[in-house]
Symmetry: C2
Subunit: 159 residues, 2 copies
């Protein structure tokens, strides 16, 4: 388990899931906007110092998204997926594929849970096709998630 | 394991996957058509004696599908999902949700593998969010899969 501030990420042995929780000083409506408005989304997703380019972003049932991260050395990392169901203040679901390992597709569910006092718990479960694919993704993504949610904290404060 | 003709369906303990293989007397191109042409799809999917109504069928990356099965007693069972990636003769991937258990979304991968002599192996892996959700779906779906692939055998012979 990795814990930074209120972030918890676990990949329980014998499962294919990455489970994650993170608290935010924001309402569910603000969290929803940060995940479905491409102008906001581009400002916080991914590791620090990576350049983010959104190629497609259609946050509704059947809509697709794709984006590319470019690190300071110029290496590019591209991702794509489709939304399953329409995002709401309750949360959203999507597929997720890193195009560097094509075919290793995750199904991801995110919930926005009202904690009162203007705070929201973001809860996520990302399911891989195998425990091995889950372990590889978790290893690769943790730093980017820590960085991204710190950027999201700052963005939400500025809204 | 359930075996009918060449059908094998397994849900290995400690995984969230339903794994399935089935051989067909057909080419990969014919299997692809049977899974992506709505007029063909409606003729074979689901248990015997169920009426099939396709509401949406857009077999491309980001496209959605939904259909309803109606049994002889008049009970209706509705399903929906979205395609991830474009279907090809190599196979296709999609989300799958039975609307009687909303939120229990599966991610499904299907491969068409050329066996030569005009025969093709259909291989599928359906991944649930939990082992429990996997077990429940497997219990519910086996009869429909057995019936459906028998209907598909007959349909492929008539093409």
């Amino acid at each position: 388990m990795n814990t930074t501030d209120t972030l918890k990420i676990t990949g329980a042995p014998g499962t294919q899931n990455i489970e994650m929780t993170r608290e935010f000083n924001a309402t569910r409506e603000q969290l929803l906007a940060a995940h479905t408005d491409p102008d906001l989304y581009a400002q916080w997703v991914g590791p620090d110092d990576y350049e983010m380019t959104i190629n497609q972003f259609e946050p509704h049932h059947g809509g697709g998204y794709s984006f590319t991260h470019r690190n300071p050395e110029g290496n590019e990392f591209s991702f794509r997926g489709v939304f399953h169901g329409d995002p709401t203040v309750e949360g959203f679901s999507q597929t997720f594929e890193y195009l560097g390992t094509p075919g290793d597709v995750f199904f991801e569910r995110f919930w926005f849970e009202d904690l009162g006092n203007g705070r929201t718990l973001l809860r996520g479960v990302s399911t891989a096709g195998s425990e091995e694919a889950r372990d590889a993704m978790m290893e690769a993504m943790v730093d980017g998630v820590v960085d991204g949610y710190a950027k999201l904290d700052a963005l939400l404060e500025s809204l």
